[in-house]
Symmetry: C2
Subunit: 449 residues, 2 copies
């Protein structure tokens, strides 16, 4: 007869299991205490189902008795963003960098940051500045890793996006107005409109916007300071450019927002006297309002610090903490290459589809950009700019924007970039949904020719 298992042995085992369980509970519960509610709240919002065509946020609108609403991608609607609006135009205007969102959702654990209620309440960091020393170090590491900018011996200033730093640079490079004539600020079309609109808006006696750079070639008389905006890669057309004007009285502001492997080959690290970058086009966090200037000259650096002090007393400490965490992830993944592989792969795929579609048409053309050797990917590669600079080739198509608008594509007219209206800028860095709708509309338009 088989020996019947004694009730005493079984209950000993169960008791042991209970003791182990209870100990784990105590230890596990001891791990997270005061931060638990915040963590649960964030995870609950992240779990809200928006059918892959939107997402909910902690600070989203909450409908009575419900949870935060799904904020849907363009052309999607419904409480879970699952309903596609069939006749909805493609949003190809703004450079909202949603194409990077999937990367961050994939790296949820490493990219989250918990901000305590007492985090950095002071106006100042411990060195008395508005600038996180640790974040400066991270940025230097990143530029070294990517090999896109020389940072050795240079000074760093943070700003609310590159937006704030552009104007800070104009003020910093302009002479003292009581003893000199205003600096002449110029840019080469097609160019980012903010150089002109912002400079004109602030309307300081120190400087004045003087139009297109080319109209000042050989006219840079030494009685004025010239401030030339140089954007490379350029917005809107993605070209790698250089400054045009020559002379000791010519200062350059190098807008390097797009000088990353996402959009361009990296032939060499740039070493300008004043370069401006933004997290918007690197990690995609446009809403954080975080940019940095890398400056050679100490006097210019100090003047830019003064601007930041006078204007906003520096940049939000939360934005700097978040940037630090995002840079952590960028520097870690796959020897720091992961985000660039992801971004370049996405952009390259989009350009392939775009070229395929446009090549079927004689009515439209895209900017031509030669392939180049990239020191980051260590091979020759095509450029993959953030924007298509589409041209309506027919002479009579004088308003390319309207032609596309009629076809359900909302881009930005060439004149916004101080260029001819035969051109339209189409944003290629928005969400997959936005890009898919754009390609479908373009295919339909091209097929009608």
């Amino acid at each position: 007869m088989a020996r019947k298992r004694s009730p005493m042995n079984l209950s000993f085992i169960v008791t042991l299991m209970f003791v182990v369980c209870a100990s784990n509970m105590i230890v596990g519960r001891g791990e997270i205490s005061w931060s638990k509610d915040a963590a649960l709240e964030a995870e609950a919002v992240a779990a809200i189902e928006c059918s892959g065509h939107g997402r909910a946020y902690l600070d989203g609108i909450v409908l009575k008795g419900h949870q935060q609403v799904c904020e849907c991608n363009e052309c999607y609607t419904g409480s879970d963003c699952s309903k596609f609006i069939s006749d909805c135009p493609a949003n190809s205007g703004s450079g909202d960098p949603y194409f990077l969102e999937p990367f961050w959702m994939k790296h949820a654990a490493s990219s989250a940051v918990l901000v305590s209620g007492w985090h950095r309440m002071s106006y100042y960091y411990s060195d008395g500045s508005y600038i996180s020393e640790l974040l400066v170090e991270h940025i230097k590491k990143l530029h070294t890793l990517v090999g896109n900018a020389v940072t050795e011996g240079k000074y760093f200033v943070f700003g609310g996006g590159s937006t704030q730093l552009l104007n800070a640079a104009v003020y910093a490079l302009s002479p003292d107005v009581t003893s000199h004539s205003p600096a002449k600020v110029v840019a080469t079309p097609p160019h980012y409109p903010v150089y002109r609109t912002q400079t004109e808006y602030f309307n300081a006696r120190n400087f004045s916007y003087e139009g297109s750079t080319s109209s000042w070639i050989n006219k840079t008389d030494s009685s004025s300071t010239f401030i030339e905006f140089v954007t490379s890669p350029n917005n809107p057309d993605g070209k790698l450019t250089k400054g045009v004007l020559k002379g000791d009285n010519v200062k350059q502001i190098n807008d390097r927002a797009y000088y990353w492997p996402h959009y361009t080959a990296i032939p060499s690290p740039v070493d300008d006297d004043l370069m401006i970058f933004t997290i918007s086009k690197l990690t995609g966090h446009a809403g954080s309002r975080f940019g940095w200037a890398i400056i050679k000259d100490k006097a210019v650096y100090e003047k830019m610090l003064t601007y930041l002090d006078m204007n906003t007393m520096g940049v939000s400490r939360e934005a700097q903490l978040r940037a630090l965490k995002l840079f952590d992830v960028v520097l870690e993944g796959d020897d720091g290459k992961e985000i660039f592989k992801f971004a370049y792969s996405t952009m390259r795929h989009r350009w392939t589809k775009l070229k395929e579609t446009i090549s079927k048409s004689k009515r439209f053309s895209l900017q031509k950009l030669s392939s180049q050797y990239c020191t980051f990917f260590q091979r020759e590669r095509e450029l993959s700019p953030a924007y298509a600079w589409l041209k309506c080739e027919r002479e009579e198509d004088k308003n390319c924007y309207e032609i596309l608008e009629a076809a359900g594509i909302n881009g930005r007219a060439g004149s916004v970039y101080s260029a001819d209206n035969h051109y339209v800028r189409l944003s290629l860095i928005r969400s997959k949904d936005d890009f898919d709708i754009l390609i479908n509309k373009l295919k339909t338009l091209v097929a009608k020719q």
Copy 2:
């Protein structure tokens, strides 16, 4: 004979306990997933022991092989901030609102916020603006609860601290310069220096800083716009003030940074055409760079939106999310009174000690402020301003700043506030350590008379 407890009953109980424990484990472990690392990291930093005279931050400097350093209060040092530097001067200069830090440490659980890697990457909220609708609603609720400002039918603009909004308001209220003379910007001494330094710094053709308000009384000819800064309670002396100039061409910018029960009685809700508040002096989060303007006129509101667009494309989404969480806590505690009771209690205690100390001296005096009825606390109360506006009474003590400096007290000279140097501003809103050192130094100084 008593019935012996059957082993079967006991093992049933233990089995039940195990089942409950295991279920809780499964549920508990299922509660927090991807946010766990961020939560643990934040709690680990918060647990770093800084002896109550400092704190560590997530983005603090990390010494090799160690953890984030303790960032010590003034006059404290050592790896855990436990070492007091005996001959160290009192830091009574900046208005760094550390006095509120203990409140937030006490509310650790409710004030923490976990920011996901993909939180608000876009330039825009879902309504296409840079402004969190939910946060506007919270701010309106708070003003209604405190009864310190009328918000009904008004417009809201957010800025990087009130700092950014002050200049935004100057631009918005200035006329179009091509058809009008520049607006004349004035303020009444003693006043916050930024009104002058910022206005002069930006140096726009649209406006010019024209000194003391009183020199323009009865000279507000209608050919110019006048922009008068009105600060109430005033910085540096805490007085409740009103505008001075009259006329249709006179516009006021009402800096209401200190119009909270922490510092003043609330006789009634203010209803100015343009009022500016900052989170710095409400919750103490000066580093967040978050302020709001409440505006009556739609055209002025739109102009301020334009400034924010041109300057920085709005305010960091992280700062807005954090502000939302902090406002949540403010609105919840004790029917929304808790933080005000805490803050007022701290300020009242500090003023009691300060008055006690200074009353023993004929050489020094403090500003006199009458008690008033407060609709928030529903009783008559003394004012408890953020700053002492200390006067050196002796005619020959022309540089009060130096007299205090020699006694180991670093305040700010009266001339910084466009006032006489018989005055010094002493900050009373810093940490308890800062205040205790100040009181000790004052006691020593007074005793020497």
